[in-house]
């Protein structure tokens, strides 16, 4: 079936089976491979994107369900070549190692900090319960999320 998805501000019409997951449409049809697949049970969060501004595991919804919504992937976060404050905070605080969970972590963290700009360590750790990282032990991710939230607030960036 043909569906039109609005991703990172651009409309794309794709032809895919009705059973296609959003993550499959993003990776296979639109070749937006920054969104990753780390499991098959909606546990790892590597596929987290924004649908109408809210973080969603893109393996948990059909592509067809995203019709009419604004989808943002990690590729759409930086504006004009400048990193989003959350992306910059992950680099500044060594919040990534192998980079595989990173897109999902960043998208999830941005959603948290839009809702709760000054999230406590406790709030950050519990918010990230849907995102697994095997490299960092979360120590520097937590620091990065708090710093990124502060930078978003200071710069007025959503």
């Amino acid at each position: 079936m043909a569906i039109t998805l609005r991703v990172n501000g651009q409309a794309h019409t794709i032809d895919c089976p009705s059973s296609t997951l959003l993550v499959e449409a993003l990776r296979d049809n639109l070749r937006l491979t920054g969104t990753h697949v780390g499991c098959d049970s909606s546990q790892c969060g590597a596929c987290t994107v924004h649908v109408d501004g809210r973080s969603v595991k893109s393996c948990t919804m059909l592509a067809a369900e995203a019709v009419g919504s604004d989808v943002t992937t990690i590729e759409g976060l930086a504006k004009g070549g400048e990193l989003h404050p959350m992306q910059a905070a992950f680099a500044d605080h060594h919040g990534l190692q192998c980079g595989f969970c990173t897109p999902g972590m960043v998208m999830s963290a941005v959603d948290l900090c839009r809702r709760t700009p000054k999230a406590s360590e406790h709030e950050v750790r519990h918010w990230l319960e849907g995102n697994l990282c095997r490299c960092t032990g979360y120590h520097n991710i937590v620091k990065a999320v708090q710093a990124g939230g502060a930078a978003m607030a200071a710069k007025g960036v959503k």
Partner: protein, 791 residues
């Protein structure tokens, strides 16, 4: 003064930007023109005979390009998956080395054993065809657990392995150790299990093979920690294609932790299938498939005895271990419970007599191989649990018992009773630093505060050592390694003075693109941003043995330094010519060649330019260009060590263990990038705490993996862990040019016994004396109830 951005600077990572904007390129991100897709039909049984494989319906399914079985593998004479390390039994006989065909032939021996490969034009078509394959299995008795596999009359995984024993190995001196026990005032005994783990790098394995018939050339993209090793094994053993016709590319790799060291059947099969179909063939594991096809880690059962004199000095150690190897021998499997385990049993202690026996056992489970730490966590866990038990039974302070028995700084180099010679260390210094970091002197107050909240606070200590920097090739060869373990580097200075470094190690999270660039900055004065580090492609890099065992900086970094030293020396000759001076009068530092004692200088960039634009150049005696290669074979292992301290709070009502505080002090040698070193420690700690409290790959008695998903296999999440207090005390390695030791595995090795010792400290007032990993709430609660009943 340190060069800006050189050794000791927390330079931000050069590789981060591509990952942060979603432009990393992992193997599954690559789609080749005319891409085809593979899926595997895998055995649902732990042990069965293949009576009949009916693939007729699959062959005619839409989009199917090939349906391949073990018969096709045999007909095309593909080699079996080899083991890289030959271990000999006590009696001198070779280990039992069963065949390991890429697709099952005649029998399957673990759940997940690949039986049929389907290649189709889309993933969906391949999956649909796989569902049409009909395999008639005759199910056979299976063994999954060490206790079952070693029982009398146990079913055999391999008929040639009597009692399921692969080898019966030992190390140390039994007579000397027996004698030590005869004189002992105290003997402490302990039986323990080191739980089986699934490595679970976040990126599932993937392989994409392409045969270019016009040029008779193969390219394989694969999720590997060591592409040259894969090329070597495919050239020599499995695909039988010479190296120059085989290019292995390991692009961005999403974590490895050991599980991506090995040559897996799927790498061979997609490359071969591309030759058969004429199209590139890609396979990507889904997570459940990863659980039953990636090598697992650990899975030991041991008994140990420690002899002490009346003053509590250690006299001797006896260890007997069963190690589960799974159904087939993975690439490094045989070395892990022997040369990476038995040799580490002296720990940081002056132990005058040691004897260790290891029986390696086949079971009907997925192969077991190296996982972060690999043998060394098993050794540290055994020793540190045993020492803690000694302290408790003898009613002495566990810290002071350790301090009393540690190798003293002036005893280095220290020859252990289990083959290794430690070059340097200062274990007391790491102990003191960690105790300060955790504010040990106020522990009693914290225990009181926890008690006031109805919680039991426990304190656990672990002082550990590891052997890294694998390895001196001659020594490894004498111990059965079938490859050298040096590392290679090529350093290319470009005409305008920027630098490309080609390294045979592989970065999959470790930050080599930054750390290795800092070496160039330190040595040549070239800014980090003008240095490129290239890895992961056998066509671009001369050679290499890859990344595992915390070897990359100690061995690969040393190779880079050797190549850089050749660059500096050649530059001196060029500079001497340009400055009209004798070579012996030229010195190099801060990015400048200088005539000693004068202000006559040539910048490194000017010398590089002259090397490529040799208008005024000693062409009669010196070639143009500025590029050097080096191979570095280490003289010894490196020996990182340290102290890990953990405080836990146990809720006696629920059995829930909360990690309240973690403070560590490691000695990983000279530190190039402190930010990255701390990050490596954090990651290792998380995996070590995961092993201690959460993780276990559970097989039932019939060989079914019962928790092979992220729903069932519990890994640490952010809320399970505290912030970590990480400190370092540096003693520089004495035998490599950087003085580095390696940091990748410290956390996973040191912290598990500290966690369990802390849990047992918390539960000691209730009478609990033992608990196994993972110390889940259920297990802790049951232990508390049992102790109450016994009291």
């Amino acid at each position: 003064m340190a060069t800006q951005g050189g050794i000791g600077a927390s330079v931000k990572r050069k590789e981060d930007r591509r990952f942060l904007v979603g432009k990393g390129q992992y193997t599954d991100d690559i789609v080749l023109p005319d891409q085809a897709y593979a899926v595997f039909v895998r055995s649902p049984h732990a042990h069965a005979k293949l009576k009949k494989i009916d693939v007729a319906a699959a062959r005619t399914s839409p989009g199917v390009l090939a349906v391949l079985t073990g018969e096709d593998v045999a007909a095309d004479q593909l080699g079996g998956i080899p083991c890289g390390w030959l271990v000999k039994s006590k009696d001198g006989s070779n280990m039992v080395e069963p065949p390991h065909p890429a697709l099952a032939q005649g029998s399957v021996r673990h759940v997940g054993d690949p039986v049929v490969m389907i290649v189709a034009d889309t993933k969906a078509h391949a999956r649909a065809a796989a569902a049409l394959v009909d395999v008639d299995y005759q199910v056979l008795p299976a063994v999954a657990h060490l206790a079952d596999a070693t029982a009398p009359n146990a079913p055999l995984v391999w008929p040639e392995a009597k009692g399921n024993v692969c080898y019966d190995w030992h190390i140390g001196d039994p007579a000397r150790t027996d004698a030590a026990f005869k004189t002992a005032a105290h003997v402490i005994e302990l039986a323990l299990t080191n739980n089986r783990l699934a490595p679970n790098a976040m990126e599932p394995r993937c392989a994409n093979g392409w045969y270019d018939a016009a040029n008779d050339h193969y390219t394989l993209y694969t999720t590997s920690q060591n592409p040259h090793l894969i090329r070597l094994l495919m050239a020599a053993f499995t695909l039988h294609v010479p190296e120059h016709k085989l290019r292995i590319i390991a692009p961005d790799v999403g974590g490895g932790f050991g599980s991506k060291i090995y040559h897996y059947a799927e790498e061979l099969l997609v490359t071969w299938a591309s030759r058969r179909t004429g199209r590139p063939v890609k396979w990507t594991a889904d997570r459940m498939e990863a659980f039953i096809s990636d090598a697992h880690g650990r899975d030991h059962r041991s008994t140990a005895k420690l002899a002490l004199d009346k003053n509590h000095k250690f006299l001797g150690l006896q260890v007997h271990t069963y190690a589960n190897l799974g159904a087939y021998l993975s690439t490094f499997a045989s070395a892990v419970p022997t040369y990476l385990y038995g040799t580490l049993l002296s720990g940081p202690y002056d132990l005058p007599a040691i004897y260790c026996e290891v029986l390696a056992i086949f079971t009907n489970t997925v192969p077991v191989d190296a996982y972060r730490g690999a043998g060394r966590p098993e050794a540290a866990y055994l020793l540190e649990r045993l020492v803690d038990k000694a302290a408790r039974e003898l009613n002495v302070d566990p810290i002071e018992l350790r301090r009393k028995n540690m190798i003293q700084p002036e005893q280095f180099p220290y020859q252990t009773q289990v083959a290794l010679q430690y070059d340097i260390g200062n274990y007391q210094a790491t102990l003191d630093l960690a105790l300060e970091r955790i504010d040990y002197k106020n522990l009693a107050k914290r225990k009181q505060a926890s008690a006031a909240n109805g919680k039991l606070r426990g304190f656990g200590v672990s002082t550990y050592i590891e052997a890294c920097g694998l390895a001196p090739s001659a020594l490894a060869g004498a111990l059965g390694a079938r490859a050298g373990l040096y590392e290679a580097a090529n350093v290319r200075v470009h005409p305008t003075g920027s630098v490309s470094v080609f390294t045979g190690t592989h970065s999959h999270g470790q930050g080599h693109e930054t750390t290795f660039a800092q070496l160039i900055t330190e040595k040549l004065g070239v800014p980090v941003e003008n240095v490129e580090v290239v890895h992961g492609d056998t066509d671009r890099i001369p050679f290499g043995m890859g990344t595992y065992g915390s070897r990359s900086l100690a061995v690969g970094g040393s190779a880079i330094i050797k190549a850089v030293d050749k660059i500096i020396d050649k530059g001196k000759k060029i500079a001497a010519h340009l400055l009209e001076a004798n070579v012996s009068d030229i010195e190099f530092g801060n990015g400048q060649y200088r005539v000693v004692g004068t202000d006559r200088v040539k910048a490194f960039g000017e010398v590089a330019f002259a090397a490529y634009v040799p208008h005024n150049y000693p062409l009669e005696t010196l070639e143009p260009g500025l590029e050097e290669s080096a191979f570095y074979d280490p003289k010894n292992f490196t020996f990182p060590g340290g102290t890990h301290l953990v405080e836990v709070e146990v809720d006696p009502e629920t059995g829930v263990v909360e990690v309240a505080d973690v403070a560590i002090a490691d000695d990983v040698g000279v530190i190039v990038n402190p930010m990255i070193v701390d990050g490596q420690a954090h990651g290792g700690l998380a995996q070590g705490i995961g092993q201690a409290l959460l993780e276990e790959a559970v097989y039932d008695a019939d060989g079914q993996l019962v928790n092979g998903t992220y729903l069932g296999y519990v890994m640490p999440r952010a809320a399970d862990l505290p912030m970590f207090k990480v400190g370092n005390h540096v003693t520089a390695c004495t035998h490599n040019p950087l003085g580095v030791k390696g940091v990748g595995e410290t956390g996973a090795i040191g912290v598990p016994p500290a966690v369990i010792n802390a849990v047992l400290d918390a539960l000691a007032p209730l009478g609990v004396t033992d608990i196994s990993m993972p110390a889940t709430p259920e297990k802790v609660w049951r232990a508390i109830q049992a102790a109450k009943k016994g009291a």
